[in-house]
Protein backbone atom coordinates (compact mmCIF):
# COMPACT_ATOMS: atom_id res chain seq x y z
CA UNK A 1 0.00 0.00 0.00
CA UNK A 2 1.29 3.43 -0.94
CA UNK A 3 2.28 5.83 1.79
CA UNK A 4 -0.49 8.38 1.30
CA UNK A 5 -3.30 5.90 1.87
CA UNK A 6 -1.37 4.13 4.60
CA UNK A 7 -0.74 7.27 6.63
CA UNK A 8 -4.36 8.38 6.19
CA UNK A 9 -5.54 5.10 7.71
CA UNK A 10 -2.99 5.06 10.53
CA UNK A 11 -3.65 8.67 11.55
CA UNK A 12 -7.43 8.70 11.14
CA UNK A 13 -7.91 5.23 12.53
CA UNK A 14 -7.30 3.85 15.99
CA UNK A 15 -3.85 4.56 17.41
CA UNK A 16 -3.87 0.96 18.60
CA UNK A 17 -3.33 -0.29 15.06
CA UNK A 18 -0.19 1.84 14.58
CA UNK A 19 1.08 0.61 17.97
CA UNK A 20 0.39 -3.03 17.07
CA UNK A 21 2.13 -2.89 13.70
CA UNK A 22 5.11 -0.98 15.10
CA UNK A 23 5.47 -3.45 17.98
CA UNK A 24 5.76 -6.33 15.52
CA UNK A 25 8.84 -4.62 14.08
CA UNK A 26 10.37 -3.38 17.34
CA UNK A 27 10.30 -6.88 18.83
CA UNK A 28 12.14 -8.42 15.84
CA UNK A 29 14.51 -5.77 14.49
CA UNK A 30 16.91 -3.21 15.76
CA UNK A 31 15.19 0.15 15.46
CA UNK A 32 17.56 3.09 15.79
CA UNK A 33 15.98 6.38 16.74
CA UNK A 34 17.68 9.00 14.59
CA UNK A 35 15.49 11.81 15.83
CA UNK A 36 13.35 11.52 18.95
CA UNK A 37 9.75 12.64 18.63
CA UNK A 38 9.85 16.43 18.68
CA UNK A 39 7.54 19.33 17.98
CA UNK A 40 7.79 21.48 14.90
CA UNK A 41 5.73 23.28 12.31
CA UNK A 42 4.39 22.60 8.86
CA UNK A 43 3.44 25.62 6.79
CA UNK A 44 0.20 24.97 4.90
CA UNK A 45 -0.06 26.10 1.32
CA UNK A 46 -3.58 26.63 -0.01
CA UNK A 47 -5.00 27.29 -3.45
CA UNK A 48 -7.61 30.04 -3.41
CA UNK A 49 -10.41 29.90 -5.92
CA UNK A 50 -10.75 33.55 -6.99
CA UNK A 51 -7.53 33.74 -9.04
CA UNK A 52 -6.45 30.12 -8.41
CA UNK A 53 -3.16 31.28 -6.92
CA UNK A 54 -1.29 29.94 -3.90
CA UNK A 55 -0.80 31.41 -0.45
CA UNK A 56 0.01 30.34 3.11
CA UNK A 57 -2.96 29.97 5.45
CA UNK A 58 -0.75 29.34 8.50
CA UNK A 59 1.24 26.69 10.31
CA UNK A 60 0.25 23.43 11.95
CA UNK A 61 1.91 22.05 15.06
CA UNK A 62 3.30 18.60 14.30
CA UNK A 63 5.27 15.90 16.08
CA UNK A 64 7.99 14.33 13.99
CA UNK A 65 10.21 11.33 14.60
CA UNK A 66 12.90 9.65 12.50
CA UNK A 67 14.13 6.07 12.83
CA UNK A 68 16.38 3.68 10.92
CA UNK A 69 16.03 -0.03 10.38
CA UNK A 70 19.05 -1.58 8.62
CA UNK A 71 19.83 1.15 6.09
CA UNK A 72 16.30 2.36 5.59
CA UNK A 73 15.02 5.59 7.08
CA UNK A 74 11.48 6.06 8.27
CA UNK A 75 9.63 9.24 9.13
CA UNK A 76 6.63 9.60 11.36
CA UNK A 77 4.88 12.94 11.26
CA UNK A 78 1.48 13.82 12.63
CA UNK A 79 -0.46 16.98 13.46
CA UNK A 80 -0.67 17.76 17.17
CA UNK A 81 1.51 16.72 20.08
CA UNK A 82 1.54 12.93 19.70
CA UNK A 83 4.97 11.52 20.50
CA UNK A 84 4.02 7.86 20.67
CA UNK A 85 2.08 7.89 17.41
CA UNK A 86 4.88 9.76 15.62
CA UNK A 87 7.34 7.07 16.75
CA UNK A 88 5.07 4.22 15.66
CA UNK A 89 4.47 5.88 12.28
CA UNK A 90 8.23 6.24 11.78
CA UNK A 91 8.81 2.56 12.57
CA UNK A 92 6.06 1.51 10.14
CA UNK A 93 7.45 3.84 7.47
CA UNK A 94 10.95 2.41 7.88
CA UNK A 95 9.56 -1.13 7.74
CA UNK A 96 8.00 -0.38 4.36
CA UNK A 97 11.18 1.31 3.14
CA UNK A 98 13.23 -1.72 4.20
CA UNK A 99 10.63 -3.99 2.54
CA UNK A 100 10.41 -6.13 5.65
CA UNK A 101 8.38 -9.29 5.20
CA UNK A 102 5.94 -8.30 7.97
CA UNK A 103 4.61 -5.43 5.87
CA UNK A 104 3.17 -7.89 3.35
CA UNK A 105 0.59 -9.02 5.90
CA UNK A 106 -0.41 -5.53 6.92
CA UNK A 107 -2.60 -4.62 3.96
CA UNK A 108 -5.52 -6.67 5.27
CA UNK A 109 -5.47 -4.94 8.67
CA UNK A 110 -5.07 -1.54 7.10
CA UNK A 111 -7.97 -2.13 4.72
CA UNK A 112 -10.16 -3.27 7.60
CA UNK A 113 -9.31 -0.10 9.54
CA UNK A 114 -10.06 1.96 6.45
CA UNK A 115 -13.46 0.31 6.24
CA UNK A 116 -14.15 1.22 9.87
CA UNK A 117 -13.09 4.83 9.26
CA UNK A 118 -15.36 5.05 6.22
CA UNK A 119 -18.30 3.53 8.03
CA UNK A 120 -17.92 6.03 10.89
CA UNK A 121 -17.74 8.87 8.40
CA UNK A 122 -20.86 7.67 6.61
CA UNK A 123 -22.66 7.78 9.95
CA UNK A 124 -21.37 11.28 10.65
CA UNK A 125 -22.33 12.46 7.17
CA UNK A 126 -25.78 10.92 7.46
CA UNK A 127 -26.29 13.11 10.47
CA UNK A 128 -24.90 16.21 8.78
CA UNK A 129 -27.30 15.62 5.90
CA UNK A 130 -30.21 15.86 8.32
CA UNK A 131 -29.47 19.57 8.29
CA UNK A 132 -30.02 19.81 4.54
CA UNK A 133 -32.75 22.34 3.78
CA UNK A 134 -35.88 21.00 2.16
CA UNK A 135 -37.41 23.98 0.37
CA UNK A 136 -41.13 24.18 -0.12
CA UNK A 137 -42.65 26.57 -2.61
CA UNK A 138 -45.20 28.78 -0.90
CA UNK A 139 -48.55 29.48 -2.46
CA UNK A 140 -48.84 33.26 -2.54
CA UNK A 141 -51.90 33.57 -4.83
Amino acid sequence: MKRKRRTEILINGSEKLAAKLADEIISRYEVIQVEEPNDGLVMVKVRESAKRSLFYIGEVLVTECKVRIHDSAGIGIVAGHKEELAFHLAVIDAAYQARLKETKDWDKQLLEEEKAIKSERVKQMAHVMKTKVDFETMDIS
Binding site: R3, E48, S49, I57, G58, V60, G80, V128
Partner: protein
Protein backbone atom coordinates in the same frame (compact mmCIF):
# COMPACT_ATOMS: atom_id res chain seq x y z
CA UNK B 1 16.21 71.01 32.74
CA UNK B 2 18.42 67.93 32.62
CA UNK B 3 17.19 64.31 32.43
CA UNK B 4 18.05 61.69 35.00
CA UNK B 5 18.32 58.05 33.99
CA UNK B 6 16.59 55.80 36.52
CA UNK B 7 16.13 52.11 37.03
CA UNK B 8 14.04 50.10 39.40
CA UNK B 9 10.81 48.30 39.77
CA UNK B 10 12.24 44.77 39.68
CA UNK B 11 10.56 43.84 42.92
CA UNK B 12 7.35 45.60 41.98
CA UNK B 13 7.28 43.70 38.69
CA UNK B 14 7.85 40.38 40.45
CA UNK B 15 5.02 41.14 42.87
CA UNK B 16 2.82 42.27 40.00
CA UNK B 17 3.32 38.95 38.19
CA UNK B 18 2.50 37.15 41.42
CA UNK B 19 -0.63 39.26 41.73
CA UNK B 20 -1.58 38.32 38.16
CA UNK B 21 -1.35 34.66 39.11
CA UNK B 22 -3.43 35.39 42.20
CA UNK B 23 -6.16 36.95 40.04
CA UNK B 24 -6.25 33.77 37.94
CA UNK B 25 -6.38 31.46 40.94
CA UNK B 26 -8.07 33.42 43.73
CA UNK B 27 -11.39 31.58 43.41
CA UNK B 28 -9.60 28.28 43.90
CA UNK B 29 -10.82 27.07 40.52
CA UNK B 30 -8.35 24.98 38.54
CA UNK B 31 -9.38 25.25 34.92
CA UNK B 32 -8.59 22.04 33.08
CA UNK B 33 -6.99 22.54 29.66
CA UNK B 34 -9.00 19.55 28.39
CA UNK B 35 -12.21 21.28 29.46
CA UNK B 36 -11.23 24.42 27.59
CA UNK B 37 -10.46 22.34 24.51
CA UNK B 38 -13.78 20.54 24.90
CA UNK B 39 -16.02 23.51 25.41
CA UNK B 40 -14.42 26.67 24.00
CA UNK B 41 -14.45 25.67 20.34
CA UNK B 42 -15.11 29.12 18.88
CA UNK B 43 -12.56 30.92 21.02
CA UNK B 44 -9.95 28.27 20.22
CA UNK B 45 -10.71 28.62 16.50
CA UNK B 46 -10.36 32.39 16.70
CA UNK B 47 -7.08 32.20 18.61
CA UNK B 48 -5.60 29.59 16.24
CA UNK B 49 -6.57 31.65 13.22
CA UNK B 50 -5.20 34.93 14.56
CA UNK B 51 -2.00 33.36 15.79
CA UNK B 52 -1.64 31.47 12.51
CA UNK B 53 -0.86 28.27 14.37
CA UNK B 54 -3.15 25.26 14.21
CA UNK B 55 -3.12 23.42 17.50
CA UNK B 56 -6.31 23.21 19.59
CA UNK B 57 -4.23 21.96 22.53
CA UNK B 58 -1.76 24.86 22.57
CA UNK B 59 -4.58 27.35 21.93
CA UNK B 60 -6.42 25.97 24.97
CA UNK B 61 -3.32 26.30 27.11
CA UNK B 62 -2.79 29.86 25.89
CA UNK B 63 -6.42 30.70 26.68
CA UNK B 64 -6.00 29.33 30.20
CA UNK B 65 -2.81 31.28 30.78
CA UNK B 66 -4.32 34.44 29.29
CA UNK B 67 -7.48 34.07 31.39
CA UNK B 68 -9.57 34.07 28.23
CA UNK B 69 -8.12 37.19 26.62
CA UNK B 70 -7.83 36.44 22.90
CA UNK B 71 -5.21 39.15 22.28
CA UNK B 72 -2.96 37.81 25.05
CA UNK B 73 -3.49 34.19 23.96
CA UNK B 74 -2.56 35.08 20.38
CA UNK B 75 0.54 36.89 21.63
CA UNK B 76 1.59 33.81 23.64
CA UNK B 77 1.09 31.48 20.69
CA UNK B 78 2.93 33.73 18.24
CA UNK B 79 5.83 33.89 20.69
CA UNK B 80 5.85 30.12 21.20
CA UNK B 81 5.60 29.49 17.48
CA UNK B 82 8.77 31.49 16.92
CA UNK B 83 10.69 28.97 19.07
CA UNK B 84 9.71 25.97 16.95
CA UNK B 85 11.51 24.88 13.80
CA UNK B 86 9.56 24.96 10.57
CA UNK B 87 10.15 21.46 9.34
CA UNK B 88 8.16 21.29 6.14
CA UNK B 89 5.88 23.04 3.69
CA UNK B 90 2.70 21.22 2.77
CA UNK B 91 1.64 20.14 -0.66
CA UNK B 92 -1.04 22.43 -2.06
CA UNK B 93 -4.24 21.97 -0.06
CA UNK B 94 -7.29 22.31 -2.28
CA UNK B 95 -10.40 23.47 -0.39
CA UNK B 96 -12.42 21.79 -3.12
CA UNK B 97 -11.28 18.52 -1.51
CA UNK B 98 -12.60 19.59 1.90
CA UNK B 99 -14.72 17.09 3.82
CA UNK B 100 -17.72 19.31 4.25
CA UNK B 101 -19.79 19.55 7.40
CA UNK B 102 -21.61 22.75 6.50
CA UNK B 103 -22.13 24.38 3.14
CA UNK B 104 -24.57 27.05 2.05
CA UNK B 105 -25.07 29.63 -0.66
CA UNK B 106 -26.92 32.91 -0.25
CA UNK B 107 -26.91 33.47 -4.02
CA UNK B 108 -28.53 30.30 -5.28
CA UNK B 109 -31.36 28.40 -3.65
CA UNK B 110 -30.89 25.15 -5.56
CA UNK B 111 -27.28 24.07 -5.53
CA UNK B 112 -25.87 20.64 -6.34
CA UNK B 113 -25.74 18.76 -3.04
CA UNK B 114 -28.18 21.21 -1.45
CA UNK B 115 -27.99 23.78 1.31
CA UNK B 116 -26.50 21.93 4.26
CA UNK B 117 -26.73 23.96 7.46
CA UNK B 118 -24.46 21.82 9.63
CA UNK B 119 -23.87 23.38 13.04
CA UNK B 120 -24.72 27.08 13.08
CA UNK B 121 -25.97 29.73 15.47
CA UNK B 122 -27.61 31.55 12.54
CA UNK B 123 -31.11 30.33 13.31
CA UNK B 124 -31.00 30.37 17.10
CA UNK B 125 -33.04 32.87 19.11
CA UNK B 126 -30.11 34.15 21.10
CA UNK B 127 -32.00 33.73 24.34
CA UNK B 128 -29.76 33.13 27.30
CA UNK B 129 -30.16 29.49 28.33
CA UNK B 130 -30.28 29.44 32.11
CA UNK B 131 -30.55 25.67 32.13
CA UNK B 132 -26.85 25.56 31.33
CA UNK B 133 -26.25 26.89 34.84
CA UNK B 134 -27.20 23.50 36.22
CA UNK B 135 -26.06 21.23 33.37
CA UNK B 136 -24.82 17.91 34.73
CA UNK B 137 -22.48 15.33 33.27
CA UNK B 138 -25.18 12.65 33.52
CA UNK B 139 -27.64 14.78 31.57
CA UNK B 140 -25.03 15.43 28.91
CA UNK B 141 -24.25 11.71 28.54
CA UNK B 142 -27.97 10.95 28.26
CA UNK B 143 -28.41 13.62 25.61
CA UNK B 144 -25.43 12.34 23.64
CA UNK B 145 -26.63 8.77 23.76
CA UNK B 146 -30.08 9.79 22.44
CA UNK B 147 -28.41 11.93 19.79
CA UNK B 148 -26.26 9.07 18.49
CA UNK B 149 -29.14 6.65 18.50
CA UNK B 150 -31.42 9.04 16.68
CA UNK B 151 -28.81 10.24 14.22
CA UNK B 152 -27.05 7.17 13.12
CA UNK B 153 -29.95 4.90 12.32
CA UNK B 154 -30.31 6.47 8.90
CA UNK B 155 -30.29 3.85 6.20
CA UNK B 156 -30.87 6.36 3.41
CA UNK B 157 -28.24 6.63 0.73
CA UNK B 158 -25.59 8.92 2.15
CA UNK B 159 -24.09 11.38 -0.28
CA UNK B 160 -20.40 12.02 -0.56
CA UNK B 161 -18.62 14.27 1.91
CA UNK B 162 -17.25 16.16 -1.05
CA UNK B 163 -19.39 18.84 -2.65
CA UNK B 164 -18.94 20.53 -6.01
CA UNK B 165 -18.18 24.24 -5.92
CA UNK B 166 -21.24 26.42 -6.36
CA UNK B 167 -19.35 28.93 -8.47
CA UNK B 168 -18.48 26.34 -11.11
CA UNK B 169 -22.10 26.81 -12.15
CA UNK B 170 -21.43 30.48 -13.01
CA UNK B 171 -18.15 29.61 -14.68
CA UNK B 172 -19.91 27.09 -16.92
CA UNK B 173 -22.45 29.76 -17.88
CA UNK B 174 -19.63 32.11 -18.88
CA UNK B 175 -20.66 34.66 -16.25
CA UNK B 176 -17.30 34.44 -14.56
CA UNK B 177 -13.80 34.52 -15.86
CA UNK B 178 -12.03 31.17 -15.71
CA UNK B 179 -8.51 31.83 -14.44
CA UNK B 180 -5.57 29.68 -15.37
CA UNK B 181 -3.98 27.80 -12.48
CA UNK B 182 -1.23 29.98 -11.00
CA UNK B 183 1.50 27.90 -9.34
CA UNK B 184 3.75 30.83 -8.43
CA UNK B 185 5.41 30.08 -5.09
CA UNK B 186 3.73 32.27 -2.47
CA UNK B 187 5.51 34.95 -0.48
CA UNK B 188 5.63 34.46 3.27
CA UNK B 189 5.11 37.47 5.53
CA UNK B 190 6.61 35.59 8.46
CA UNK B 191 9.92 35.34 6.61
CA UNK B 192 10.06 38.62 4.74
CA UNK B 193 8.50 41.91 5.81
CA UNK B 194 5.65 43.29 3.83
CA UNK B 195 6.48 45.91 1.22
CA UNK B 196 4.14 47.80 -1.05
CA UNK B 197 2.78 47.10 -3.56
CA UNK B 198 2.07 43.77 -1.91
CA UNK B 199 1.66 40.47 -3.68
CA UNK B 200 -1.66 38.65 -3.65
CA UNK B 201 -0.19 35.86 -1.50
CA UNK B 202 1.00 38.40 1.09
CA UNK B 203 -2.41 40.08 1.19
CA UNK B 204 -4.26 36.80 1.68
CA UNK B 205 -1.83 35.62 4.35
CA UNK B 206 -2.21 38.84 6.33
CA UNK B 207 -5.98 38.81 5.98
CA UNK B 208 -6.34 35.19 7.12
CA UNK B 209 -4.24 35.83 10.26
CA UNK B 210 -5.86 39.19 10.90
CA UNK B 211 -7.73 39.98 14.08
CA UNK B 212 -11.32 38.83 13.64
CA UNK B 213 -12.83 42.09 14.91
CA UNK B 214 -10.57 44.31 12.80
CA UNK B 215 -11.14 42.29 9.62
CA UNK B 216 -14.90 42.29 10.23
CA UNK B 217 -15.07 46.04 10.96
CA UNK B 218 -13.13 47.03 7.86
CA UNK B 219 -15.24 44.72 5.68
CA UNK B 220 -18.35 46.31 7.18
CA UNK B 221 -16.94 49.72 6.29
CA UNK B 222 -16.56 48.55 2.66
CA UNK B 223 -20.27 47.85 2.45
CA UNK B 224 -21.36 50.93 4.39
CA UNK B 225 -19.77 53.27 1.89
CA UNK B 226 -16.03 53.41 2.54
CA UNK B 227 -15.64 51.10 -0.42
CA UNK B 228 -17.65 50.19 -3.46
CA UNK B 229 -18.82 46.64 -3.03
CA UNK B 230 -22.04 44.95 -2.15
CA UNK B 231 -21.22 41.30 -2.33
CA UNK B 232 -23.29 38.17 -1.83
CA UNK B 233 -22.12 34.88 -0.35
CA UNK B 234 -21.65 32.66 -3.39
CA UNK B 235 -20.63 29.76 -1.21
CA UNK B 236 -19.69 29.32 2.40
CA UNK B 237 -18.30 26.01 3.56
CA UNK B 238 -16.89 24.64 6.78
CA UNK B 239 -15.05 21.37 6.92
CA UNK B 240 -11.81 19.46 7.22
CA UNK B 241 -8.96 20.04 4.86
CA UNK B 242 -6.44 17.20 4.66
CA UNK B 243 -2.77 18.24 4.79
CA UNK B 244 0.03 16.30 3.09
CA UNK B 245 3.77 16.80 2.76
CA UNK B 246 6.08 15.45 0.10
CA UNK B 247 8.61 12.77 0.97
CA UNK B 248 11.54 14.84 2.31
CA UNK B 249 14.02 11.96 2.15
CA UNK B 250 13.68 10.96 -1.46
CA UNK B 251 12.49 14.44 -2.48
CA UNK B 252 9.72 12.73 -4.37
CA UNK B 253 6.74 14.82 -5.42
CA UNK B 254 4.63 11.82 -6.24
CA UNK B 255 1.26 12.32 -4.56
CA UNK B 256 0.77 8.66 -3.66
CA UNK B 257 4.07 8.67 -1.76
CA UNK B 258 3.26 11.80 0.24
CA UNK B 259 2.74 11.80 4.00
CA UNK B 260 -0.71 12.62 5.34
CA UNK B 261 -0.29 14.53 8.61
CA UNK B 262 -3.88 15.27 9.62
CA UNK B 263 -6.75 17.64 8.91
CA UNK B 264 -7.23 21.30 9.65
CA UNK B 265 -10.74 22.63 10.09
CA UNK B 266 -11.38 25.73 8.01
CA UNK B 267 -14.14 28.13 6.97
CA UNK B 268 -14.10 29.23 3.35
CA UNK B 269 -16.15 31.99 1.74
CA UNK B 270 -16.43 32.85 -1.93
CA UNK B 271 -18.02 36.26 -2.21
CA UNK B 272 -19.72 37.21 -5.45
CA UNK B 273 -19.22 40.77 -6.55
CA UNK B 274 -21.10 42.03 -9.63
CA UNK B 275 -19.00 44.23 -11.94
CA UNK B 276 -19.76 45.95 -15.21
CA UNK B 277 -17.30 44.96 -17.89
CA UNK B 278 -16.88 46.82 -21.15
CA UNK B 279 -16.86 44.36 -24.02
CA UNK B 280 -16.30 44.89 -27.75
CA UNK B 281 -17.73 48.05 -29.33
CA UNK B 282 -18.45 49.63 -25.98
CA UNK B 283 -21.12 47.12 -25.02
CA UNK B 284 -21.30 46.76 -21.27
CA UNK B 285 -22.00 43.45 -19.61
CA UNK B 286 -22.40 42.42 -16.00
CA UNK B 287 -19.97 39.78 -14.84
CA UNK B 288 -19.02 38.47 -11.44
CA UNK B 289 -15.77 38.66 -9.58
CA UNK B 290 -14.91 36.56 -6.56
CA UNK B 291 -13.57 37.79 -3.25
CA UNK B 292 -11.84 34.95 -1.45
CA UNK B 293 -11.80 34.30 2.28
CA UNK B 294 -10.58 31.33 4.30
CA UNK B 295 -9.44 30.92 7.86
CA UNK B 296 -8.63 28.29 10.45
CA UNK B 297 -11.57 26.94 12.40
CA UNK B 298 -15.24 27.75 12.17
CA UNK B 299 -15.15 31.51 11.97
CA UNK B 300 -17.55 32.36 9.20
CA UNK B 301 -17.80 36.09 9.83
CA UNK B 302 -14.05 36.39 9.43
CA UNK B 303 -13.95 34.28 6.25
CA UNK B 304 -16.74 36.37 4.69
CA UNK B 305 -15.09 39.63 5.79
CA UNK B 306 -11.77 38.46 4.36
CA UNK B 307 -13.50 37.73 1.05
CA UNK B 308 -14.90 41.26 0.99
CA UNK B 309 -11.51 42.83 1.79
CA UNK B 310 -9.72 40.63 -0.75
CA UNK B 311 -11.89 41.95 -3.54
CA UNK B 312 -11.74 45.49 -2.18
CA UNK B 313 -7.94 45.43 -2.18
CA UNK B 314 -7.90 44.03 -5.70
CA UNK B 315 -9.71 47.23 -6.81
CA UNK B 316 -6.96 49.35 -5.28
CA UNK B 317 -8.48 52.84 -5.63
CA UNK B 318 -6.58 54.94 -3.10
CA UNK B 319 -9.54 57.27 -2.42
CA UNK B 320 -11.24 54.48 -0.44
CA UNK B 321 -9.43 53.56 2.75
CA UNK B 322 -10.61 49.97 2.45
CA UNK B 323 -8.99 49.69 -0.97
CA UNK B 324 -5.72 51.10 0.31
CA UNK B 325 -3.52 48.10 1.03
CA UNK B 326 -1.34 49.93 3.51
CA UNK B 327 -4.34 51.11 5.50
CA UNK B 328 -5.88 47.64 5.67
CA UNK B 329 -2.86 45.34 5.90
CA UNK B 330 -0.88 47.36 8.44
CA UNK B 331 -3.74 47.65 10.92
CA UNK B 332 -5.45 44.28 11.18
CA UNK B 333 -2.82 42.14 12.83
CA UNK B 334 -3.69 41.34 16.44
CA UNK B 335 -0.17 41.35 17.86
CA UNK B 336 0.84 44.48 15.96
CA UNK B 337 -2.21 46.57 16.81
CA UNK B 338 -2.77 45.46 20.40
CA UNK B 339 0.98 45.46 20.96
CA UNK B 340 1.33 49.03 19.81
CA UNK B 341 -1.71 50.32 21.67
CA UNK B 342 -0.75 48.59 24.90
CA UNK B 343 2.87 49.66 24.69
CA UNK B 344 1.54 53.16 25.40
CA UNK B 345 1.23 51.99 29.02
CA UNK B 346 4.97 51.42 29.26
CA UNK B 347 7.04 54.20 30.82
CA UNK B 348 7.37 57.12 28.42
CA UNK B 349 8.82 59.43 31.08
CA UNK B 350 11.56 60.90 28.90
CA UNK B 351 9.46 61.48 25.78
CA UNK B 352 6.65 62.91 27.86
CA UNK B 353 9.01 65.09 29.91
CA UNK B 354 10.46 66.57 26.73
CA UNK B 355 6.92 67.39 25.54
CA UNK B 356 6.16 68.87 28.95
CA UNK B 357 9.33 70.97 28.71
CA UNK B 358 8.24 72.33 25.34
CA UNK B 359 4.78 73.11 26.69
CA UNK B 360 6.29 74.94 29.72
CA UNK B 361 8.68 76.89 27.54
CA UNK B 362 5.83 77.98 25.24
CA UNK B 363 3.83 79.10 28.27
CA UNK B 364 6.81 81.07 29.65
CA UNK B 365 7.43 82.77 26.30
CA UNK B 366 3.75 83.70 26.13
CA UNK B 367 3.90 85.16 29.65
CA UNK B 368 6.99 87.24 28.76
CA UNK B 369 5.26 88.52 25.62
CA UNK B 370 2.11 89.38 27.57
CA UNK B 371 4.29 91.23 30.13
CA UNK B 372 5.97 93.20 27.35
CA UNK B 373 2.53 94.07 25.86
CA UNK B 374 1.34 95.35 29.25
CA UNK B 375 4.41 97.56 29.54
CA UNK B 376 3.77 99.05 26.07
CA UNK B 377 0.09 99.70 26.89
CA UNK B 378 1.10 101.52 30.08
Amino acid sequence: MGYVAVKGGTRAIEESIKRLKYERLKNGTVLDVGQIEGGMRSLIDQVMSESSLYSPLLASLAIKQAEGSPEEAVFLLRAYRSTLPRKHYSRVAEPERMRVERRISASFKDIPGGQVLGATTDYTHRLLDFELMSETEEAVQRWLSDFYEDSFRSDEKVPSEYFPKVLDYLRKEGLMEICEIDDTEPDDVTKKSLKFPSSRSQRLQILTRGQTGAVTSLAYAVIRGYGTLHPTVGELRVGSLPVYIDDPVNESQEEEESYYIGDVKVSEAEMLVPVTVEKERGIEEVEFEVGYGICYGQNETKAIAMGILDNSLEQGEARYPTQDEEFVLYHIDSVESTGFISHLKMPHYVTFQSKLDSARKTKQTEKVREGQKDEITL
